[in-house]
Subunit: 592 residues, 2 copies
């Protein structure tokens, strides 16, 4: 059975030595003293290892079942859910006015990584509630907030998001679910939604569905879409549960992975819904959930890679096979451990350097969100908007790839379900697909985010990289291994941006044909920047001579690997981008 | 449900226009007239579409079961097996002296692709018999050949290969299965083998296991290993079936994919075995099967990508979502089909250009095998030995990647088992693992094959590329799009080889740390060469003005894509290789 240990030391390094959270002057960050964050992360790690991780394979094997309209989650999920909720974990960063603990998002993100690594399917139940809470919190009336949020904060009620329909995924303009206004101000919701994660379960007393639907008079396409609160069970004026709403689960999908989470077909048969936010402005409200969800999915990508890596590393240390070509390392044993072999080492370093870079990138992004929300910093908001598709698309592609590499370390044993490595791959696969397939993330990045606010945020990012290099140019220890490769990669990114500017206006396909490569190019530069910043922090720690020298040295060695072996991918992505639309569109549609 | 249509036109193009099989002066190739090969491929395609493909999802869902020691294959497999065997398909290229049809391997390979695309799990039953037949044919005595082969050719009996044990996969020197000589010349085989594909089934009357075991006196490590024929049921002198042998199935593994094939734990409890080939030279005999199997697995890699691509293409044509940014292509419909979007087109072109390149490469390799075996050409034998790890490792990595991309085209629907796209991914995943995990292929390539016969074969390959470029340098239509990129890629490959020569002697890890990248670099150059050769053939067809001009133009457009967007990966691989051992080995084992 696979195991999991929270990487709390690596997290503390990012929070305190790279991001310097206590010095960040963001409201609420003064609480994030190392002793406090460590206590929180250690406790989360304990629950993850002892409660959630042991249920991960159970969830995969048992899956969820639908009997007589009732969804059953795998054995043990309910007990774990109660324990997690009683501990207040899902409400860590929620508004204290509605039952949350008011902690910064950056800390909740670190805790989220731990829970997702331990059991991604399980964590989706609380994760979706979190997203629904945020949407109601941002767009709801005071009355709605008072009515729905407190029970969602405690996990007594859960939340979902309902966008997709059988014939429309990305293109929500094709939506058919209708909302007819009633005289009492509520709406009658009718339609079928599919792929609804955590659509129903036996964990919470009620499920608060957020449903996109078309109300009369909104016009065609996405313009006519509104967002509705549609509870599974209607709630009386006094807050007690009333009659069941006309909401039912039509089916639970048979999926490649995340079997522990019930992916439901939801039927709304004239269900009572309450308008959330403005009429016909539902897309905007839904994007509140979506952006949060996209960062959460980007986190899932590397969190799955983290747990897969931990298990691959353990296997590489214990499995004896072959001999080190430079001389036996385990001469008294029948063979040397796998880890002596350079190609196994390459694979482990790929995994390790990606995961640590992605963690830094994600926590850096979480800090931007805190800066935007807690300090009202519009530039931080713009920058994280730009970065959201990169965090989602790049990190899930790479995260999946690293799960596959971790599985590969196990050889044939990795293909057997018992070792759990297949599950990590199958579970991670969904992260590239949901919350906007990664091609859509690339489109969002190139087609929308680059030009956001006149290109201001991408320019700010370039300045940030330039500033970082300049600031550290006297640091000879880092120049060749970190600063020079980052400079080269950043140049590739700028050249790609320039190519789009010069060609995209004449021919949008010239930009769109390179969008996917651009997303990866951007992701690599971001991780390169993070590794640069981690290297500076590690070097500082080493020079101070007070901390764990071996830890800092390992950080530097891992970073060197990323810069030498992963970052140079930017040149390939640029080359592809600069080949333009012709190779991609040269074959006519009917000639395939 | 996914569907499959054999790409017979593409196959004919490779066989006749690129490889010019009838002009190849290889014994038996004179039979390969276009009418004949087309008839064979069309017929194979018919069976594949009508019989095998419809059973593919059945096999995935039902899997194989073990009850009271009896293995049951999924519903319909037995009928399909009988039909395939009655048609003589598995014996297409086997020796006519023992019931085969004596066709060239190149034709059997094309047929193999068709069957593997339609149903990989099913095809493994006959595929393993083929490998076992070859091993007995090559290393058996006349008496053994007469006794075992005819029934294997008809499929009345099947075959397996037994290498792996719980504690030893790649490192066969750790083997524990014992063979004790008996007075009558037979051996008593005792031990447990795992991961035995097609280990047992209810399709054939008998199963002829080829089992590696250690006989006394052979010395330590792989030196002491011999190969034995161990039938499931003993065979009487008159050829009739006798008593059951002491062979049993301990378990069927729960795997990520290929559920239709029974992957067995095999127990040998003093079973009767017959020495095959020379005592203590079992590794050599096993390599006969292994090399054939490795090319077969390389074929599986792209054959799975082919069927996944076909279904992704069909979905991209029919699924309406979003609008072409350059103007609606389906203005009367609610949205345009996915295929109008550049990023979907990129993905489809990735898949298409890989599959067609890999098919050419594999059939080119199959022709080398024919040249080696039928014309006794030692250089051809050396060249295919060099290429075997490239065909296996590169094509299965890319094949898996392309299955993932094909699944991605389906968005959320690709994650649902019903569409069948998940199965292609899960099935393709094993190809990177079995018959030597791809890291082992890379090691074989760099550690053994490059230096084979003093490096003669890799030099011959370089000369071949150079010769091709020189031969066509006057062809202005191909220069910029095909010849120049191939020249650049080939230069990267030579530079990588040079790096290994200069650094590998001092520090083997400098070469081994780059072995995986080298395998991919080599693979890209091979596919680049194949695309060059296909482009020449297509251009010739176009210039002649007699064939299907649209087909030739599509070939050229697809090739241009590969050269512009895939081949440039060679520079990245070279850069990684030239970064040497330090980044890879810089982090000490205990510092992970």
């Amino acid at each position: 059975m696979p195991s999991y240990t929270a990487p709390t030391k690596d997290m503390a390094f990012v929070l305190h030595e790279m991001l310097d959270v206590t010095g960040a002057e963001i409201p609420g960050y003064d609480e994030l003293e190392p002793d406090f964050t460590s206590a929180v992360l250690e406790e989360a790690g304990k629950i993850a290892s002892e409660v959630l991780a042991p249920l991960n394979q159970v969830g995969d094997r048992e899956g969820c079942t639908l009997e007589n309209g009732v969804v059953r989650t795998p054995k043990g999920f309910k007990e774990a859910y109660d324990q997690i909720c009683e501990g207040g974990w899902p409400a860590l960063d929620l508004d204290p006015d509605y039952g949350g603990q008011g902690m910064p998002y950056v800390l909740a993100t670190a805790v989220g990584e731990i829970f997702v690594s331990a059991n991604m399917s399980f964590n989706m139940y609380t994760g979706l509630t979190h997203g629904a809470f945020s949407a109601i919190h941002t767009h709801g009336t005071d009355e709605q907030k008072a009515r729905w949020l407190p029970n969602m904060a405690t996990g007594k009620w859960s939340g979902t998001m309902n966008l997709t329909e059988p014939h429309c995924g990305t293109d929500l303009g094709l939506m058919r679910t209708r909302a007819e206004p009633r005289d009492d101000g509520t709406y009658r919701i009718t339609g079928t939604k599919i792929f609804i994660s955590a659509g129903d379960q036996d964990l919470s007393e009620n499920v608060i569905h957020l449903v996109l639907a078309k109300a009369p008079g909104g016009g065609p396409g996405t313009k006519g879409i509104s967002l509705f609160i549609v509870p599974k069970i209607l709630v009386n004026e006094d807050g007690s549960l009333g009659e069941p709403n006309a909401v039912s689960v039509g089916n639970i999908e048979e999926k490649m992975g995340i079997h522990g989470n019930a992916t439901c077909v939801m039927n709304y048969d004239g269900a009572t819904g309450y308008l959330l936010g403005n009429l016909h402005k539902g897309m905007r409200a839904m994007f509140t959930m979506m952006n949060e969800a996209r960062i959460g999915v980007g986190l899932q990508g590397y969190a799955q890679a983290e747990v897969a890596y931990q298990n691959a590393l353990a296997y590489a240390r214990e499995r004896l096979q072959g001999r080190d070509v430079t001389g036996a390392k385990n001469p008294d044993g029948p063979a040397d451990p796998l880890i002596v072999h350079p190609d196994i080492r390459r694979s482990l370093m790929d995994q390790k350097s990606f995961v640590e870079g992605a963690r830094a990138f994600t926590l850096w992004g979480a800090k931007l969100i805190d800066r935007a929300q807690r300090a009202g910093d519009a530039d931080a908001h713009g920058l994280i908007s730009l970065m959201t598709p990169v965090i989602k698309g790049f990190q899930t592609d790479k995260g999946f790839e690293m799960c596959v590499q971790a599985q590969q370390v196990f050889g044939g044993h990795g293909y057997i379900e018992e070792t759990g490595m297949s599950q990590f791959v199958r579970d991670a696969r969904i992260t590239q697909i949901y919350e906007g397939a990664n091609g859509i993330q690339a489109l969002d990045l190139v087609g929308r985010k680059l030009a956001l606010d006149g290109g201001k945020h991408v320019m700010a990012f370039f300045e940030m990289v330039k500033g970082f290099i300049k600031e550290n140019e006297g640091n000879e220890a880092l120049k060749a291994d970190f600063l020079d490769p980052l400079k080269a990669a950043s140049k590739d990114l700028q050249a790609a941006g320039m190519y789009f500017m010069q060609n995209g206006m004449k021919n949008p396909n010239a930009a769109l044909a390179g969008s996917y490569d651009f997303m990866h190019l951007f992701g690599h530069v971001c991780l390169g920047l993070m590794w640069g910043r981690m290297a500076v922090a590690a070097q500082k720690g080493l020079d101070a001579g007070t901390g764990d020298a071996a830890f800092y040295k390992a950080k530097l060695a891992t970073g060197r690997y990323y810069m030498a072996r992963q970052l140079p991918a930017t040149a390939l992505h640029l080359k592809r981008i600069e080949s333009g639309a012709d190779p991609v569109m040269g074959l006519a549609e009917d000639a395939f």
